[in-house]
């Protein structure tokens, strides 16, 4: 088993307040890892450390070591733009740009200068849309606005947009929380397909979802990592009493 991302002793502070306490957690390549826990437990904060999205927040400070392919992402071994090329992200609320479907997907490849040729770009866009399971639905209206799609389609467009940059890891921050059950099940199937090619780390509020899609699960509580391990084990016989209480719905 190969690690896609390793983290050691990660601490995160918002101003004086500590949001993450000394977490060390590794993510296996081509597996789906779910981060679960009650609201405010720090799971999203931790996820956003992995592609340095916390940089945007002025008062946020990250300590510890997070490495991808043995490169420390918070040291200057790698530019933040290169990092995000390798580690894509899908957000809670679908956030397509107010551009055409085509331009939404082509945005990343253009930024990173993948190709200048129209036909090659068409190929990249089509491949990404196919992988995100959206191509058949939109192939005749690639010039329509991305914002004109339904919520579930928008979220798959955002996944296609992330895939188009050819990342190694895809971070998903509660990707289904704004979607209806049908759109959710489509995205969940998609996640299972995508792990063939990508390492996926998903934050979710829904324990059923974590149980359905993930191979590994990590349980967070109050900024601490309480327990991690195989999903089946965490959901059937967890070692920690708190984990047991949470997955049986006693709090959270």
């Amino acid at each position: 088993m190969v690690n896609a991302i390793t983290t050691e002793n990660v601490n995160v502070f918002y101003g004086d307040k500590q949001a993450i306490n000394n977490i060390s957690l590794n993510f296996l390549k081509n597996k789906v890892t779910a981060l679960i826990g009650p609201s405010g437990c720090g799971k999203s904060t931790f996820l956003r450390c992995l592609n340095r999205m916390n940089d945007v927040i002025e008062i946020c400070r990250v300590e510890g070591k997070i490495s991808i392919n043995d490169q420390d992402i918070y040291k200057d071994q790698i530019e933040v733009e290169q990092l995000r090329e390798k580690v894509g992200m899908v957000f809670q609320k679908p956030n397509p740009f107010p551009k055409s479907i085509y331009d939404n997907v082509a945005y990343g490849p253009r930024i990173h200068g993948f190709t200048d040729k129209k036909n090659e770009m068409d190929e990249i866009v089509a491949t990404a849309l196919k992988k995100a399971g959206l191509f058949e639905e939109v192939k005749n209206r690639l010039d329509d606005l991305g914002t004109s799609l339904s919520g579930g389609q928008q979220q798959r467009l955002c996944i296609a947009r992330a895939i188009a940059v050819k990342p190694e890891v895809i971070l998903m921050d509660e990707p289904c929380s704004a979607l209806d059950p049908i759109a959710t099940s489509i995205i969940e199937e998609l996640i299972t397909e995508l792990k063939e090619s990508y390492t996926i780390i998903i934050v979710t509020h829904s324990m059923q979802q974590a149980a359905r899609v993930s191979d590994k699960t990590a349980f967070f509580h109050l900024g601490n990592l309480i327990e991690e391990g195989d999903t089946t084990k965490i959901f059937t016989k967890p070692d920690n009493q708190k984990t047991n209480d949470y997955i049986t719905g006693r709090f959270g």
Binding site: M53, F97, P98, Y107
Partner: protein
């Protein structure tokens, strides 16, 4: 003069408490349809509203009553005067009654002044009496309404509602009145000058119309070439264009800096400072343009071998551009800020840098709003008066060379209405036609600007 109003307010407040107390007393035994305070408000409104209308009526009618009173008491001495003489007599007598004397009054006038003083006393006494009576009557009516199943809250809401309606109606009527007075005077102007000659004429020399001052009949051929608006429109657009060349880049860049790059401290400090630019009185910009900028441009032009007029369109345009920077920067800053953070995050997460995100995501998303801010700024520039009156020329000159003098519609309106004005002469009346044209241009621009801004808002809401 305002004492009757204070008196009325006092009566109304007394009515409020009397009614309120009665309903509080009633509510101890049974449930009332409304809260006690509403019975109080009812009394207040019943007393105040009709009485204030009566008072306004008396105020307006006073001089009419006074005049008739004087005619009755003085009798024959006034009946030999014509209406102009009566007006003169009245204003002289009124001044005298206020103690303003020029020492040349006749006995008749002095007698009339004394009559006015005594009339004033009686009239104000009568006013108070009428107001008190109407208040008592109104209070008695309101008192009758303090019964358990009378919904005074509804009535109060209705009265307040009507009051607000009347306020907005007044605002609309005033706007309409201004517009109609413009239209009628413009039609009057068009009886001298063919509208087509006005709208498409290439010559502007309204002084030609002086020629007809003494003439009995108006020679339309002279007027034909005197009132062409095109040179003014050209000058206006030229100066507005120069202003936009200054305001668009500076305003937009500072908006981008403030919205995206500036630390919070700098933003909190600079945004109000830039907005101060919009608060500087335009007359200050005017003399800044005329006394500082224009001579500098002339000097600079000379040193490079250009012929520059001391009243060049360039000086007025540059300074006007500075004035409208805040319109562009403040509105653009707002629309850039309104672009949701999630779009920025989406772009950053794909590995875009900040500048790539701004150019490829934020500005395109905010573009309609930014264009709206440009249009509002242009309409402001076109309607701006003081700067061009002071810094631009009076010479109508159809040119696109910014170094030459140019005049604007607003400048010519000011010129037409300053000095000796006669409202039977097209030279003066043209101001209304120009005003109406300007009104339509800015209305059109504002309409489109607001429409674009509104459409943009709908995308995210």
């Amino acid at each position: 003069m305002l004492y009757p109003v204070l008196f009325l307010l006092l009566l109304s407040v007394v009515g409020f408490y009397l009614n309120k107390n009665k309903s509080v007393y009633l509510s101890k035994n049974q449930k009332l349809a409304s809260l006690p305070a509403y019975y109080g408000y009812l009394a207040f409104l019943y007393i105040f509203v009709p009485a204030i209308i009566i008072w306004l009526g008396l105020l307006i009618g006073k001089s009419f009553i006074l005049q008739n009173y004087l005619i009755l008491t003085l009798g024959d001495s006034l009946s030999i005067m014509n209406s102009d003489e009566i007006n003169l007599f009245m204003s002289k007598v009124k001044n005298l009654s206020l103690g303003i004397s020029f020492g040349n009054e006749t006995d008749l006038e002095k007698f009339a002044a004394e009559k006015i003083i005594s009339f004033d006393k009686i009239f104000s006494l009568l006013t108070y009496l009428v107001l008190t009576l109407s208040s008592i009557l109104a209070f008695l009516i309101a008192r009758k309404k303090v019964i358990p199943n009378f919904k005074s809250q509804r009535t109060v809401e209705k009265i307040v509602n009507r009051f607000i309606q009347i306020c907005s109606l007044i605002a609309i009527l005033i706007t309409l009145g201004i517009f109609l007075s413009l239209v009628f005077e413009t039609l009057n102007f068009f009886s001298y000058v063919n509208p087509l000659h006005f709208l498409f004429g290439l010559n502007w020399s309204p002084n030609k119309a002086f020629v007809i001052d003494s003439a009995e009949t108006i020679d339309k051929d002279i007027l034909r070439d005197a009132f062409g608006i095109i040179p003014l429109l050209g000058g206006t657009l030229l100066i507005a264009f120069l202003a936009m060349i200054v305001a668009i880049p500076l305003g937009l860049m500072s908006a981008i800096y403030l919205a995206e790059y500036a630390p919070k401290k700098i933003r909190d400090f600079s945004k109000p400072v830039i907005e101060i630019l919009a608060g500087i009185p335009t007359v200050v910009y005017g003399f800044f343009a005329a006394l500082v900028v224009a001579p500098k441009i002339v000097m600079l032009g000379k040193s490079m071998g250009f012929e520059v007029s001391s009243e060049s369109a360039l000086a007025a345009g540059l300074v006007m551009g500075v004035m409208i920077i805040p319109f562009v920067s403040s509105l653009s800053d707002d629309v850039i800020n309104a672009v949701p953070q999630s779009l920025r995050d989406g772009s950053y997460a794909l590995g875009a840098t900040k500048s790539e995100t701004i150019i490829k995501v934020i500005l395109p998303s905010a573009l309609p709003g930014i264009i709206g801010s440009f249009l509002l700024a242009i309409s402001r520039a076109i309607g701006e008066t003081m700067i061009v009156v002071m810094a631009a020329s009076l010479q109508a000159n159809l040119t696109i060379n910014p170094l030459e003098p140019a005049t604007t519609i607003t400048t010519q309106i000011v010129t037409a209405l300053t000095g000796d004005t006669e409202f039977d002469n097209p030279k003066t009346l043209v101001a209304f036609a120009l005003g109406l044209t300007l009104f339509f241009i800015t209305l059109f621009l504002n309409y489109f600007a607001l429409k674009i801004v509104k459409k943009y808002r709908e995308i995210y809401d």
